[in-house]
């Protein structure tokens, strides 16, 4: 019999991806022993909070959470403030975190032309780990909406003059439109990809550069993949279910085509 945790994940990749956040909640309620694992491993659309100190918005996930508060990457302080001191990265890692946030803020503006970015780092044995978060929502018309959430989680293990990076990326892309002529159309979901790479490291600045390049390459790949699945595959399946052209015509066309080919071969 399969592991209950695997069954929960199997269920979540089958049920409507738009309901993933709600379904994770329901599963935690049904099987409380899975709560921690589910919250840690299932990606849901990112929350947004405003940093009291800088006035800037930042993104919230399990990695910058302490109880009911989230750490702002801009001020390193928790929002809402914690009564006791929260867990923050070591001085060295926080320094990298500040630089990474500056770099990904530029990246965000170049690629997303809006939205919010946040990078969180934490110390691990033999290195550090972190996540790069990006979020943007659009309403190109009153009847159409879209949202993009990138969740890149990585680990960096120090080796001699190089580092071994492990990156797991999830993009949650939700698109929907509702008009009188079309009715409602919802095209939503998430895709996950992983990559591992060794890259040269001179100093801590190298890490920000290396992670930047990996995330950029990954997002380029995933954007193409999403385009293929959402607007290629899904559309093709609709065409496989129902044919606009009468099938008798399609058959005739195919027969005529074969005729031409075989007469050319003669």
């Amino acid at each position: 019999m399969a592991d209950p945790f695997d069954s929960a994940l199997d269920l979540l990749r089958r049920l409507n991806p738009k309901d993933t956040a709600r379904n994770v909640g329901l599963l935690c309620d049904l099987a409380p022993q899975l709560t921690e694992d589910l919250l840690e491993s299932v990606d849901v659309p990112l929350g947004v909070r405003r940093c009291r100190k800088t006035g800037r918005e930042f993104l919230c996930c399990d990695y910058n959470r302490d109880g009911d508060s989230w750490r702002s990457p801009w001020s390193n302080e928790f929002e809402p403030p914690l009564e006791e001191e929260g867990v923050v990265p070591s001085e060295r890692v926080r320094k990298m975190e500040v630089r990474a946030n500056e770099a990904f803020d530029v990246y965000r503006e170049l690629y997303f032309e809006g939205g919010i970015s946040s990078v969180y780092l934490w110390d691990i044995d033999d290195g550090f780990a972190g996540c790069v978060l990006l979020k943007k929502s659009v309403n190109p018309s009153s009847k159409t909406s879209g949202s993009w959430d990138s969740i890149h989680v990585f680990e960096s293990q120090d080796r001699h003059r190089t580092s071994h990076y492990k990156l797991t990326s999830t993009v949650i892309l939700n698109l929907g439109t509702n008009t009188d002529t079309l009715g409602s159309m919802d095209l939503s979901g998430n895709m996950v990809r992983q990559v591992e790479q060794d890259m040269a490291v001179e100093d801590d600045g190298s890490h920000v550069i290396n992670i930047g390049k990996m995330v950029e390459d990954m997002e380029l790949k995933m954007r193409n993949l999403l385009q293929e699945v959402y607007f290629g595959k899904a559309k093709d399946v609709v065409g496989d279910l129902r044919s606009i052209q009468p099938l008798s015509e399609t058959k005739r066309d195919k027969a005529a085509h074969r005729e031409v080919i075989s007469s050319m071969a003669r």
């Binding site: 019999m1 209950p4 069954s7 929960a8 990749r13 089958r14 049920l15 991806p17 309901d19 379904n23 329901l26 049904l30 099987a31 500056e102 770099a103 803020d105 530029v106 170049l110 690629y111 943007k136 659009v138 190109p140 159409t144 879209g146 949202s147 993009w148 698109l175 439109t177 002529t181 079309l182 009715g183 159309m185 919802d186 095209l187 979901g189 998430n190 895709m191 990809r193 190298s206 920000v208 550069i209 930047g212 997002e219 380029l220 999403l226 385009q227 699945v229 959402y230 607007f231 595959k233 899904a234 559309k235 399946v237 609709v238 279910l241 129902r242 044919s243 606009i244 009468p246 008798s248």
Partner: protein, 271 residues
């Protein structure tokens, strides 16, 4: 807080085409044994999704819907002239019997069936249809379901069309189309569409008239859905994230790393 039963019912309700048994297996393995209380959820799923079933000893697929349910909970098919018992949780048919449905619209039902069958064979590579008198013989339901399952390639799809025709005294025709596509290779992507249809019918329309209207509406809808894909791709998707920055060059991370927020990078806004 919804009860466990409500949670489980909502899981069954959103099971993708062809994947109900996978959802059931996962729920069982989570040791949620609520089989009894889930009966209504399974029934609702099968009737709404126009579940098709192969009858024991038969080769054709017949439809399970709210339109062809008999008072004793069995289902029937006009064309196959049979009725059967249906286990909603396992989606298996049993206890098949000969059954002829009495209707004052027998001829109309037959000609609608023939016309719908001809239409379906022209536009659906693989589909099941049903035509059933409903509401005390006052209306006739026409249902079509087309499924294509490709679990080895991690995708499944379903197209459903349902129409209700009132022949007299004032003829009317209404309907709905629903498309459901699931793609789940290293992810979970779902297309869900829903379109209500209203028609204007005059005089006393023949079966051919009814199918002409249906054929037109389905073609128009499918074309509109194609435009929907294009529009979401060109507008919403493109405005979420660019493929490359305006400069058409990837980010120069060496520069970002060293400098502060980047006027040197081009296009970057200073804070």
């Amino acid at each position: 807080m919804p009860s466990h039963a409500d949670a489980l019912a909502s899981f069954i309700d959103s099971a993708p085409p062809g994947e109900l048994s996978n959802v059931t297996a996962a729920l069982k393995n989570l040791s949620v044994d609520d089989a009894g209380s889930l009966k209504p959820a399974y029934k609702k799923y099968n009737e709404e999704q126009l579940t098709t079933v192969k009858l024991p000893g038969g080769s054709q697929l017949v439809i399970v819907s709210k339109y062809n349910e008999l008072e004793d909970g069995r289902y029937y098919d006009i064309e196959a002239r049979t009725s059967w018992a249906f286990d909603h949780a396992t989606q298996k048919a049993s206890a098949v019997q000969t059954y002829v449905h009495e209707s004052s619209h027998e001829d109309l039902v037959n000609s609608l069936y023939k016309a719908l069958a001809a239409h379906a064979s022209e536009h659906y590579p693989s589909s099941s249809i049903g035509v059933f008198p409903i509401e005390n013989d006052s209306k006739i339901a026409l249902v079509t379901v087309a499924n294509k399952y490709s679990p080895n390639n991690y995708w499944n799809g379903r197209w459903r069309s349902v129409y209700v025709f009132t022949p007299a005294p004032s003829p009317s025709l209404t309907g709905s189309i629903n498309v459901d596509v699931h793609y789940y290779e290293d992810g979970n992507v779902r297309l869900l569409t829903s379109k209500p249809l209203t028609f204007s019918v005059a005089g006393s329309p023949s079966a051919a008239d009814v199918l002409k209207q249906i054929a037109q509406a389905e073609r128009r809808y499918q074309e509109e859905l194609h435009r929907g894909f294009t529009s979401l791709s060109e507008n919403a998707f493109k405005s979420l994230r660019r493929q490359l920055p305006v400069t058409r060059q990837k980010v120069e991370w060496e520069k970002i790393g060293g400098y502060r927020v980047g006027q040197d990078i081009g296009g970057g806004r200073q804070r």
